[in-house]
């Protein structure tokens, strides 16, 4: 166990712990903070595995932009604190069953060791190499994703149109 694997397990521990804390917090802002910590940990993990670009993007997009929007909405909505209660059975039973199934499958997959004994070579993906790889090998999927985002943008524009006219008619 060298320094890198020690760091790996440490980071994994931090990520798992903060994620667990994030999904169990009643206070939404605390949950957001733990989730940010979790994203930050995954970014460090990416960096450790030799993908600095992904690490930076993870922090900028997930921790920086998306979670800030979450926090923003939590702050704006002023959600009243829920009293301590358990979710109704029809919500948690299917979730628990599916989670258990996933855990079993994961454990099986790890125990059968598909290539688990092979050591990966350390490699660092430079931003330019990463860029050329994505845009040369997988240009189609990149374009499809960007088209999807464009559609989302158009949808937001459509939904957010100035529908003042309808409101004023309703008022009259």
């Amino acid at each position: 166990m060298n320094l890198y694997s020690a760091l790996f397990y440490l980071l994994s521990l931090v990520i798992l712990a903060s994620t667990a804390l994030a999904i169990t917090r009643r206070n939404l802002v605390h949950a957001v903070v733990y989730l940010v910590l979790s994203f930050f940990g995954s970014a460090l993990l990416f960096y450790l595995l030799g993908a600095p670009l992904l690490a930076a993007l993870e922090v900028i997009i997930y921790a920086g932009a998306i979670m800030i929007l979450f926090l923003f909405i939590v702050m704006m909505l002023n959600v009243e604190r829920l009293e301590e209660r358990f979710f109704p059975a029809r919500q948690w039973v299917p979730a628990a069953v599916l989670g258990l199934l996933l855990a079993v499958v994961g454990l099986l997959a790890v125990s059968t060791q598909p290539g688990g004994d092979r050591l990966l070579k350390t490699a660092v993906a430079a931003p330019s190499a990463f860029g050329s790889y994505v845009f040369q090998r997988h240009w189609l999927s990149v374009e499809i994703v960007s088209l999807l985002l464009l559609i989302a943008l158009a949808g937001v524009l459509f939904l957010g149109r100035d529908n003042d006219k309808g409101v004023s008619e309703e008022d009259r």
Partner: protein, 199 residues
Amino acid sequence: MNPDERHYRKLKPVPPQRFRTISEIGEALNALGQGFVTTFRHLFRKPITEEYPEYKRTLPERSRARIVLTRDPDGNERCVACYLCSAACPVSCISMQSAEDDNGRRYARWFRINFGRCIYCGLCEEACPTSAIQLTPQFEHVKREILSMVYEKEDLLVDHSGKDKTYNFYRWAGIRTGDRDKGEHEREDKPVNVRSNMP
């Protein structure tokens, strides 16, 4: 929809100001530039600050600061201990004990102002019928010890008549106080003998 909500939804956002022509953009940029030029010129002007401990500006005579008890032009205490200042004081910082001397002249046996509470509003001065209590422009009136802010009569009493140089209550009051008899006061007629005043 409750009425408040309707009110909010009726409010339209202020339409953003749009530049219609190139000349308007030019005007805006020019205005912006003028602002920067103005502040830059200020850099080379002498500051207009009056630096306080080195330079003390003389305050107007009627500025309200430290309270004193003045004397009339004859050198006697003006205060007649009528308690009006004490009653007018919004923070109740004035207290006194009235007394009367052998001539029937009222005075304050002790007179105390707690400057720790005083707000220098000047209501005591307005209430005073004899111009005894007056506010002065001496504002440097700060102490480290709060109890030393309590001023007794001997601390308050000064040797001049303050802003009102001429007024002397007992010359006008029509009260017999030793030096003047009935009818000898300012603008006072001689007493009339009511028995002789027959038609």
